[in-house]
């Protein structure tokens, strides 16, 4: 059971790629989306199963390997899943499913290519989630990166290629910084495995070349900030989100940047740079800048997807803030906000896909009154936005609350206050968007618009259910945290 579950994270997408490309192109194209569904759903189930197993055995993590002996003496590469990685693996499955559901209606004839690349990007992200050494992390980061460039340019139109190019350029800089940082760390510690590096870094101030390590840290923060789109490293993010095809925006906005940037950053921070207040404090400040900047900038945007992109910058700031607070509560809050953000942001991107498909535009000035014509989309986007703005009892409220409490307690009331105040801006851009797109009188040229039928609405409904259900059931988690003495 456990072997099957863990292996499926990396084995299953590989198998799917094999299956899709062994059969003829026509068959491959026909079955690709369905195969994708299966992979995504099994991944979600496997993540839940692993969580259950962790809980049943009372373990903190499960170590496993794919097809090698992980107990070999020489350089055995261990893969490992803990609760956080399982949560993100679940998110990957969920967002991939939503992306597939959206793609079914929007991607046209490119289903086979799309699914192949989706499987690759899933492999990349799953790899980021399970690896336990810095270089492997870098390799999987690159895989994720490559697959996303190609996905953005999937339709081969000028806009997509331009967005992909910008992403490519910035991502290359980020990769150089990250790789450089890892190299510097390697030269000083002699290892790349998380645990060993952490041990070697415990006394880094007395290391022979401490300044080199500091350079490494700076490069590390900068590199991952670019990948995560933290302000002021966010430049590429709105362009890439806006220019990508609808289903790819869902994927990028929902999970990819968060895996490549936020998750990887948190993982390294927690496993390698243990207890380094300097890095934490820097990230805290960057997180606050990101929160405020993203929210304010989102208020002035004219495009549905760009608003969502800036709101991502802001929400990622919250996640970073929670982790940077350095307390366990903050980390739990960040983890839950990661999940919540994956849920509601995916919902919103699915909604933007529905609007784009039905009206042909995402320019909010040309939209209006769609609530009457597209009720499912309108309601699910309201729910998602309310969750994002932190309105109880929806899921986003709780995770934000935990983060703000954590910052308030362990760092400063000012930081918590700023984060709290920025929520108002979240509500502001939410209202701007809702008013321009869904509320108000119906624009004349939109009278013929109908609700996005089938899988897109299904995705929106499913994700909304998750948002609401998670929020309503949250007291159970609170109780658990309380019992664990975290809260």
């Amino acid at each position: 059971m456990i072997t099957f579950a863990t292996i499926s994270f990396l084995g299953l997408p590989l198998l799917a790629i094999l299956l899709l490309n062994v059969v003829s192109k026509k068959t491959g194209g026909a079955i690709s989306i369905s195969v994708g569904y299966v992979v995504a759903i099994i991944q979600m189930i496997a993540a839940v199963v692993c969580m259950a197993l962790l809980w049943m055995h009372g373990k903190d993590f499960i170590e496993f390997s794919l097809f090698w002996d992980m107990n070999a003496t020489l350089g055995a590469a261990k893969l490992s899943v803990d609760l956080f990685s399982l949560v993100v693996l679940f998110c990957i499955g969920m967002v991939s499913l939503a992306s597939l559901l959206t793609a079914k209606k929007t991607i046209g004839e490119k289903t086979l290519n799309y699914t192949n690349l989706l499987m690759v990007i899933m492999l990349g992200m799953n790899g980021i989630a399970v690896v336990t050494d810095l270089f492997s992390l870098y390799v999987f980061l690159e895989i994720t990166g490559i697959a996303s460039f190609v996905l953005i340019a999937l339709l081969n139109d000028k806009r997509g290629l331009e967005g992909a190019f910008k992403y490519l350029v910035m991502s290359a800089i980020a990769s150089a910084l990250i790789l450089g940082s890892f190299a510097l760390i390697f030269t000083q510690t002699g290892s790349l495995v998380y645990g060993d590096v952490a041990k070697a870094l415990a006394d880094w101030r007395n290391a022979q070349y401490a300044p080199l390590l500091i350079v490494g840290f700076v490069m590390f923060i900068a590199g991952f900030s670019i990948k995560a789109g933290i302000a002021p490293f966010h430049g590429w993010l709105p362009d890439a989100y806006q220019s990508a095809p609808a289903s790819v925006s869902v994927l990028l906005g929902g999970i990819v940047t968060k895996m490549a940037g936020v998750y990887a950053l948190i993982r390294v921070l927690n496993s390698v740079f243990v207890a380094m207040p300097m890095i934490n404090n820097t990230l805290l400040i960057l997180g606050l800048i990101s929160i405020v900047f993203g929210a304010v900038a989102a208020c002035g945007q004219k495009d549905f997807k760009r608003i969502l992109a800036y709101s991502s910058i802001s929400q990622i700031g919250y996640i970073i803030l929670g982790v940077a607070s350095g307390s366990l509560l903050g980390f739990v809050g960040a983890m839950l906000h990661f999940f919540n953000h994956a849920t509601f942001k995916t919902t919103l991107f699915v909604n933007s896909a529905a609007v784009e498909m039905q009206t042909g535009t995402t320019d909010i000035d040309q939209l209006g009154g769609l609530q009457a014509r597209m009720p499912v989309t309108a309601v699910s986007s309201i729910l998602a936005f309310l969750s994002m703005a932190g309105i109880p009892p929806l899921a986003g409220f709780w995770s934000k609350l935990l983060i703000i409490i954590a910052v308030w307690q362990s760092v400063s009331a000012v930081g918590g206050g700023i984060a709290l105040a920025a929520s108002i801006f979240t509500a502001a851009y939410f209202l701007i968007l809702q008013r321009k797109v869904f509320f108000g009188p119906l624009e004349d040229h939109l009278t013929e618009v109908t609700e996005a039928k089938g899988t897109i609405s299904l995705a929106a409904v499913l994700l909304s259910i998750v948002t609401v259900a998670f929020g309503v059931l949250f007291p159970v988690i609170l109780n658990f945290l309380h019992l664990q003495g975290i809260l």
């Binding site: 350029v169 800089i173 002021p232 820097t282 900038a297 208020c299």
Partner: protein, 625 residues
């Protein structure tokens, strides 16, 4: 389902029963809402099925030994805790009985009316919430169910009234204030004991913070029971809501809940001392309620409004009984609660039957209905005799117990209570004669006939209850007395009242009421105006006029205060509005548009940003080191 239920009953599994009582009505409520209007019998079946299951489960709960159930929920001691014990079991059983009877009545009444789906939906939801509120053993859980009842109340009053939700809003605000007080009371109480669990709280003294705690909890409970000053929505609701709402919520369920809490607060959580200041205060509330509501009942020209005022006045008796803090008052109050629910539900249902057949409850348009609706008429008379406290009927015995307690505290309360009996008797004589006796009069005389059987059945059952609870008053009393065994000891209150003097005084009062009625009838020649000599008496006239214009309605005063307050707030709001709507928006949109222009799509610019970001991080590092 039935077999599962029976096995649950035999195994005495209290926890399972609690879930049945709360979850099944909710599920069936949604079912009733989904079933289309055309399949009315389906809706009706669901309603009856749900109330029957609830009834069986309630019997099982009543027979269960004391059980507590605890499920961890939200942390901080907010557990899903329920407790079955004698009093909660008894109250749940009462709720179930009246829910069943009203359900049977309302499926006949609501047929061919709009909003039956919503009505049944709220009905079942209310049953579930009331069960939960009674069985809860944790203040947070109780509040959850209690507040839920506020929602269903609002929903009931909105049925077919979407365009003029005035009554619903009024009820919501008044009950909301009461619930707010309840919350405050819970906060004070919990603050003293440090526990949210209800069975962990007992015998707090009514002083210091306990005074506030007791007062707020009591006011919250009074608000639910509909005593002064939380009463004024009930007469309006009587006119606006579908009629079965009246016997259901204000008539029985809200009384049970309010008095259940009142008794628990006064005798369990807090130790109310007889003749102490707080005891007198509660009794004053009761006395004022009796007096004012009784006086208002006297002059009503509409059956439903008249019954509503009488009902409020009856609550006064119960509050008076509870407020004495004496065992006899307590037993009298709980017994009166049962009797009140019996005869008042019966009276509302007869009024409903009249409305069902004649289409009106305006007494000036009605008369002599006894000839065409004999069963309804007889039941009305029996229930009236019970409510007036004619010796032998149920109301008599419970009232005598309360009189006993009132006299023991102070003779003034006794005098007011007795005067209240006069007012009620006078108003009933007026209504009874005007509607059921004399010449047959109705908007549609030729089509009149007896109410349908499904509507007669509960009416008849309740009328029989009025007689049985009087003649064989040991039946209810022997159920009630064991509940309060620790308070009253082995004292048995059943049988004939022990003080013959009091009985004689009561009879004299009733006689005076009859004489007064005959005097008024002779004077004006019409039953309806039999109390006009009181209505238009020199001083009373102007008071009544004011009351009719709602000068005595606390709600209208509240609304005046609210209006003034809102004018003040409007001014402040304007200023704040300008800040948010104009200034802040301008600043944000300015900054935002600058940022938008900055993000011009050029990768080189992004790179410059990134490198300045790196420089920033380096500076941060230097600063932090």
């Amino acid at each position: 389902m039935i077999s599962g239920l029976s096995s649950l009953i035999t195994s005495g599994n209290g926890a399972g029963l609690i879930w049945i009582m709360i979850v099944i009505p909710v599920i069936l409520a949604f079912l009733a809402l989904i079933i289309p209007k055309t399949a009315y019998s389906g809706r009706a079946t669901v309603l009856v099925l749900a109330t029957v299951i609830n009834f069986i489960a309630a019997i099982a709960i009543f027979c269960t030994k004391e059980t507590t159930m605890l499920m961890p929920w939200a942390g901080f001691e907010m557990n899903l805790a329920f407790r079955i014990y004698s009093f909660s079991g008894f109250t749940v059983l009462l709720i179930a009985v009246f829910a069943l009877l009203v359900a049977i009545y309302s499926i006949a009444f609501m047929r061919n009316r709009n909003g039956s789906g919503q009505f049944f939906f709220y009905f079942l939801l209310t049953v579930a919430l009331a069960n939960g509120a009674v069985l809860a053993n944790n203040f947070v859980v109780m509040l959850f169910f209690w507040e839920g009842l506020l929602v269903t109340l609002f929903g009931f009053l909105l049925i077919n009234q979407h365009s003029k939700p005035k009554t619903a809003v009024k009820a919501l605000i008044i009950s909301g204030i009461a619930d707010l007080l309840l919350m405050l009371g819970i906060a004070f109480t919990v603050f003293q004991t440090g526990s949210l669990s209800m069975d962990a709280i007992s015998g707090l003294s009514v002083s210091g913070m306990g005074l506030f705690g007791y007062l707020c909890l009591m006011l919250g409970a009074l608000g639910k029971a509909g005593a002064m000053p939380f009463h004024s929505w009930i007469p309006d609701a009587a006119q606006d809501a579908p009629l079965p709402f009246m016997p259901f919520l204000p008539g029985s369920l809200e009384k049970f809940l309010g008095i259940y809490l009142m008794v628990r607060v006064s005798y369990e959580f807090y130790q109310l001392v007889p003749a102490s200041g707080m005891s007198i205060a509660v009794m004053i509330i009761g006395a004022v309620t009796i007096l004012l509501a009784g006086a208002m009942a006297l002059i009503q020209k509409d059956m439903k409004r008249l019954l509503a005022y009488q009902e409020i006045s009856q609550v006064g008796f119960i509050v008076l009984g509870v407020g004495t803090a004496l065992p006899v008052g307590l037993i009298g109050a709980v017994f009166h609660m049962l009797n009140h629910a019996t005869y008042k539900s019966c009276l509302f249902m007869t009024a409903g039957s009249v409305e069902y057949r004649t289409g009106t409850t305006d007494m000036s348009k009605l008369g002599g209905l006894m000839k065409v609706m004999p069963v309804t008429g007889i039941c009305f008379v029996i229930a009236s005799l019970a409510i007036c406290g004619v010796p032998g009927f149920s109301g008599f015995f419970s009232k005598e117990l309360i009189f006993d307690a009132a006299l023991e505290t102070n003779w003034i309360f006794y005098a007011i209570a007795v005067f209240g009996v006069f007012l009620i008797a006078a108003s009933f004589l007026k209504m009874g004669q005007a509607v059921f006796f004399g010449k047959v009069k109705a908007p549609n005389v030729s089509m009149l006939k007896e109410a349908p059987p499904a509507m007669q059945l509960p009416v008849v059952i309740l009328a029989i209850g009025c007689i049985v609870f009087g003649v064989c008053n040991f039946i209810p009393l022997h159920l009630i007395q064991p509940i309060f065994g620790s308070i009253i000891g082995n004292h048995d209150f059943s049988g004939w009242p022990h003080s013959a003097t009091l009985v004689i005084i009561s009879c004299v009062i009733l006689l005076i009421a009859v004489l007064n009625h005959i005097y008024g009838y002779k004077k004006t020649g019409a039953a309806l105006s039999a109390v006009d000599h009181i209505h238009y008496a020199p001083v009373l006239h102007s008071i009544y006029n004011g009351a009719e214009k709602r000068y005595t309605d606390p709600y209208s005063w509240l609304m005046v205060v609210v209006k003034i307050y809102s004018y003040i707030c409007f001014g402040i709001d304007r200023a704040i509005n300008w800040f948010y709507d104009v200034l802040l928006v301008k600043i944000v949109s300015f900054v935002s548009s600058r940022l938008r222009m900055a993000n011009n799509g050029s990768p080189s610019r992004y790179m410059v940003w990134s490198f300045s970001g790196i420089a920033f991080i380096i500076m941060l590092f230097i600063a932090l080191m």
